[in-house]
Symmetry: D2
């Protein structure tokens, strides 16, 4: 039996209609740098889906790039970005934010989430510090929805965070690398329209949600970042064939596909959790989206690894490890059965 690859949600190509659209338009000449009519239409679809007709929408290639470009564009040189300690920008981007000149100011998160109160405290501590002119000024807030642990901010939590952000003039930015899986989750009550209303910027993930590559950065107030196009170019993030990204989001937002594309993953994640919990395997916690975290004895890891690629999440205790699997839009019933079988036989 071949190794099963469910370590993450970026392991297959693109949703089939995307490939079809690429094939159909392949030999048509069009304008470069995203100045074509497919990009225009895709942006328009996204604005509609976000209920925000004036939003600026820009397509970038990947999440680390989107985060670095947007955060770099929003912060002043003397500011840092507030993030959960487990935030992708804090731990898994090889220092891209610092490479751009900015400190990541971490708050201890609860399963990846931080709260309005914690941000409020950080800001008060900053202003109460007699030497705050000598320290990095918090300049914006970075969240992800879902978080690294697959957890979700509720609408109320985002509203509260937004209030604190306004009080302290902190732009609020949401990393939606896996946003489709949030939108498809049962416990989710945050819509794209809420994000457009509450955030100063966010990105709608494509790479992990049905596209080959691509993230759609949405800036509800289009005056927020002057010369954003040139900033993107300067960061090496501008594609000559911009429509490659446009065409994917054009498909993803046709007929509300993006609103539903995550459902398959949620259903199968649920099924994996139920089956294995029933069999006595222990979840780290019951994550509500497409990521599944199991606690596995260290002495079973090697054997498991021979049959399944998993993600190392963190040490649980001296003899156990938290490992992650992820379902996606492309996961099949066969994948699910195979993964469960492998775990049962090897762990």
């Amino acid at each position: 039996m071949e190794k099963i690859m469910m370590a993450s949600d970026y392991q297959c190509g693109a949703y089939p209609t995307i490939l079809e659209a690429m094939a159909k338009t392949n030999l048509q000449a069009r304008a470069g740098y995203g100045m074509d009519e497919i990009c225009a239409r895709a942006k328009e679809r996204i604005r509609k889906a976000c209920d925000c007709e004036k939003a600026e929408v820009e397509f970038l290639s990947g999440g680390t790039q989107a985060n670095a470009v947007v955060i770099g564009a929003l912060l002043k040189s003397y500011q840092g970005v507030i993030s959960a300690d487990s935030g992708h920008v804090s731990v898994h981007e090889a220092g891209a934010i610092e490479h751009g000149g900015h400190k990541v100011l971490t708050i201890k998160g609860k399963l990846g989430k931080i709260s309005a109160d914690q941000i409020e405290t950080m800001m008060q501590d900053y202003y109460n510090d007699g030497n705050h002119d000598h320290i990095v000024m918090p300049g914006m807030v970075y969240l992800s929805q879902p978080t690294e642990f697959g957890t979700l901010y509720s609408k109320q939590e985002l509203e509260d965070i937004s209030v604190v952000c306004h009080r302290y003039h902190l732009p609020l930015y949401v990393d939606g690398a896996r946003l489709a899986y949030a939108l498809a989750a049962k416990e989710n009550d945050v819509t794209l329209s809420d994000l457009a209303r509450l955030c100063d910027a966010f990105y709608i993930g494509g790479t992990k949600c049905g596209a080959f590559i691509g993230e759609a950065v949405v800036i509800p107030n289009p005056d927020l970042i002057p010369h954003f196009f040139t900033i993107i170019k300067q960061d090496g993030a501008l594609l000559a064939k911009g429509w490659l990204l446009g065409i994917q989001f054009d498909e993803l937002f046709k007929d509300d596909l993006y609103m539903h594309i995550g459902e398959n993953a949620i259903r199968y994640a649920e099924q994996i959790k139920q089956e294995l919990v029933k069999d006595g395997y222990q979840l780290y916690f019951d994550s509500p989206t497409n990521q599944i975290f199991f606690i596995i004895a260290n002495d079973k890891l090697e054997k498991l690894g021979e049959k399944a690629v998993y993600s190392y999440m963190e040490k649980y205790d001296e003899t156990h490890t938290v490992v992650r699997f992820a379902t996606s839009w492309s996961t099949t019933k066969e994948d699910v059965d195979k993964l469960c079988k492998i775990i049962r036989e090897n762990v």
Copy 2:
């Protein structure tokens, strides 16, 4: 009649076999970040084509990104990169090199080319300046093949430049955004194997040469840039689905496709030049690759622009402008006829 779009060579999608390969492999799960077997095979093909079995090959998304990442990785903080004044890194990358902390040290080029003697002189001037500790140290040489003007370095010219580079410990880096059109040009005598022998790094252009996106950075001595993977990640240039780039180069280097993919463009560029020169139109100069530069009276530009998208190259004199058209792997006989007709009728 619709406007003809031959302003550049990135205006169509991908060579058809690429799309086919993407479709065929679309729902296969594979490892991320370029750690898959398609990338491995593509890299192996490129090493073979370059006659350099030990080379490190990395795939990046675009030319500005490739230049910024490689130049940033090769220079010390106190060094700058030598380039022709018309070099892409000097004028058309929105300051990406300076954004990375480095000065572009320009040499006046001749139709985009600089010479070994000019580099030698710059180095002697640097060391002869009593205050050279106060000025930016030239740290590497950037060339492009073909250049911004479509001109070509001969093998002898590259050999000479390489000698100077070795003398002064300057890594030599060649931007091959349009390399397929050099390889297909009649006057070209520089092979991929020559580049691998004479350069410290170069990139084989995909975006303009048959791919959707992608450039293959080749580093003949694989020890040259330690931790290049992390550098790429930090620059936001690492794709989760790395095989999207790998699959394109895998196709481009299957059966020597890349060696021939530019021939179509060269033939049609030749034809356009011959037809129009015969009719009395004036070339800026007879560029040997796929870019065509015409001198056009300013008062004809508006009318031309209504029928054809062209690139503004530079002012010729008070009443004339140099405009550029480009053929590509996807140019057809119809495109050629249409362009010639438009020019004849409107200029």
Copy 3:
């Protein structure tokens, strides 16, 4: 009674012999940029004091500048600097290290100190992380002697840290902003010669230890940082009148002055602590150098602040605060008596 200013150790000018030397040489013309014979002599004296004849010595203006320049010069672009969470580079330099492109990788310190074991654990965690190519590589270690809390590393502790640093190829760098007060402390067993033997770079603090301004960076292996002069210039840290720094260190290292200049501060700090503890005031802990940390009830702070400038260190509990006073080479018996009297009368 005028407010007493003992909040820090940089509140007076320079040791008197420095001013005399400046006056004596004032109208002599000499070479710029530190290329003069006074700088040469000062460097030679420092090399002797460090027992390291081959060391490179460079004079910089202040501590944040020294840290930023040295750390920027030692790290590769993809690396970060390990520091105690309370380290000056981590909290009180306005993000200078991140501004230079690097993450500060913090370890929870004990009264400002970190241990060899903690560094070892950080390195093992880094290499054990399956995704370490996606995270910032620890590239050097930053310590301060004394620390922000005035605590001292013992020779054995530095030896142990040095062993771990060698194991992982981490340059070890010590910030000696208050080094004179370490050298004068009774419990200290680390000499300049030990620092030169165990560190890859360190700086001998002038600004807080008898000079107007100036820190002497010592690099025992002079080949460690090529083109350090140009790096300093590029960072805006090169003084035209370099001898202004040289003359101060020339005096500080004449007749072993620097070895003793901190004794006055230590004696008076001891006296303040003894007197006030005897009277029932509570130390945060018994810091061995020139910084004194008291726990003071919050409702006494305002009144105290009217008579004495103090430094806010941290919150002790809901109703108490840790405040800091510092003695220095210029503290007098009158200062000590005045401070004690003010505390007795107001706290």
Copy 4:
């Protein structure tokens, strides 16, 4: 006879009253980071001298630092600074501006000066370029008064440049490293008050004009650069003992000293030029301030260099070189006689 050192104007210490003031205040404790009453008074004197009561004034240590900090604070990430090709920021600061992320956009100067028309042309070229989104946006103008060649902008020229700068929203910044020598020059008609009226920022040079170290940055509109203090700190440019700079400018602006301190240099420069021209030596051109440029046969340079330190300016022709001498506030009649004698005997 000892070598004469008149290669530049930073070769002696400080104007004597500065040393006296330092001695008088040496053991007084005061607040750090420029928050003391001496800095306050010095800033007030400068505001008065500039006829600009609301100006923000900050003291920095040197010219390269001042330029890097101010230019970094004024430019957006996607902008560059316009400068004469001979501008200090362009050639003699080891790439400090690029290190901060910005391109220096050069205009060919005439003896160090650029004109309003040239700036206008650069801006029109920028906006006329169809691809200007792909190139660095000119974001401010850098001039120096006097220039690297000692030449002066007239009030009319500055007015004209200011008009263009306003038209294109380009902050105008003037580097006044040698400003005292401009103010003392006979042909000068630009006052400090004119600079405060026409510039968005400028610095009044101390290092070359009577201080040990120090440049006073003047920002007429104090809202121009929010959080400038933290920016200075982040750049490693904040001195703990800020009054060291304040005290020097306090003396330099007491009783209008700065308005006259350059007169000595101008008078002696005039005398050197007259004497030597009379004797047949050839000036490169008759520079109006304290720098003197001679054309000297290359075969005389070695002998001259044995007796006098000179600055290499540029190659004149194959057999001649332009060398520079500079007078200063501390030049004496003996220096002048000695220099003339050395030249007569050796050239």
